[in-house]
Amino acid sequence: MAVVEFTDTEFMICSAARLLEDRKTVFVGWGMPQVVAILAERLYTPHLVQLFEFGAVGPQSLTPFIRGTMGGPSNIYRSLQWINMNWAFSYAATGYIDYGMLGAAQVDQYGNLNSTFLGGTYEQPGRRFPGSGGGNEAASFVWKTIVVLKHEARRFVEKVDFLTSPGYLDGPGARERAGLPKDTGPWRVVTSKALFGFDEKTKKMRLLGVLKGLDPKEVIQGMGFTPLMAEKLLELEPPEDAELRLLREHIDPSGIIIRGEKMRAER
């Protein structure tokens, strides 16, 4: 058995990349989801078609990943199609996009996402974030939404300060009653320590597993709600050497995205 060292971000990225399915489509959000998608494409899902809201369909991105650019030439390299935002969202609205991968500042037990503000009021927030971007469209239209966020207990709240992108709203049937497309919604929440899913009946968040070696009770301690627990919790594998090498040497050699708290695990 060996001990592997990695950052919490690296674990989260690898954990998310393993969730994607090959020969499917994914709506990729800004920032970390881009890195997840590149890692997945290189290691696990070479035929995954990535969709970007700014109109790139199916790029084969070059590395190193250039942060922030979205529509830059290396991130949209060798796309199948370059088009614009209204068309990009149409692919999702008509059901062609299987997965969506998004970040968030806050999430509640129904998977509702806040990426707008924390604390205070809408007019005078405590802290302001970029807002929806295309996150609302992804969370509304794709079949399965994957949320990726740093594992901090305060991000898991009873009620989001602002509902930017819909999870299951206030429970079963609520999305449909609101007029959102049927059979969509959050599917997984990937954090730097754990993996959550949602209970089919109650639509409440459920802990599926934690990083190998962590204590599930400690992991969920302090969350604003108590998640359901899977009958058998998974032990999530730490990053593989191949994943870390790719991330550190090829995708993000400057370490801007993958930096974070140091973690270690046995494998």
């Binding site: 922030g68 529509g71 302001r128 807002g131 609302n136 509902l163």
Partner: protein, 318 residues
Amino acid sequence: MQGQVEVHFTHPDDFRRWVKENKSRDAVDKVMTEQEAVSRFVQDGAYLAYDFSSLTRGPQALIREIIRQRKRNLWICAEFTLHDSPLLVGGGCCTRIDVGFLGYGSYIGRAVCDGKVQVFDNTNGVLASRILAGARGVPFLPVRNFLGTDGLPHSGAKVINDPFTNDPICLVPALNPDVFMIHVHQADVYGNARIFGTNLFALEAAMASKRVIISAEEIIEPMEFRKDPGRTTIPFFLVDAVVHLPFGAYPGAMPGRYEIDLEHVDRLNAIQTEAQMQDHLERYIYGVKDHLEFLEKHVGWPKLKELMQKASIKEGYQ
């Protein structure tokens, strides 16, 4: 449910009337300086939209000119706004923002918290649909998202029962900006314009806006457009001003032409305090008379050449 806030909305008939009376169908030379384009076509209080971001093919030189001319009370459509919105707010130009995506950094976040700028939370897709409604000459478009959110009450959207399915559906009001700015790869003197790569809503917004200012890396012969009409992004009769601004997207990239200047972008990212903002504006915007002087004084040809060299991916951009 209905959005309860102020919304920039023009009756389609009023927009049509404006187009009839103010948009010339005559192919005349519209080339002018950035000073002239901005002073003639961007009024205080105008609603401003632009295509793409500060990092990719954004009309950055035109935005700097707006700040230099100290325009006031602008309302901006922040679709992919990154460094633009903090600069415009820091320059005292912008008081209202339809979000979109409100990047970058803590300066703009704090400006919202401090009430220096009022935000209206739409989404990227909602804003794109609103502009498409404006371009189709209809007062609204239906969308099946935005429903169930806290953004909806802070927008101009309305929820009705769809008469075809009887399900709730969200109607988003048309958006007809007063001014649309876009930086393009190629334009002719009349305003025919061509971009390569993806775009946000280049044609939609050009069609939906009262004034369109184009800045272009290259001015080419009008006949070039007629020889490959499938590549024309915007035809001349939508356009009011053509400004020849090589490196007009700097410090962002112009796909296929030059790369991002990450050094300058880091300077923008580093702006946190009001003092830092004002220093930056003073140095890079107020302190130079135009884009050319900005490039000469603060960028320099060796750097520009380096950025051009880095733009080695040409496929699809010619």
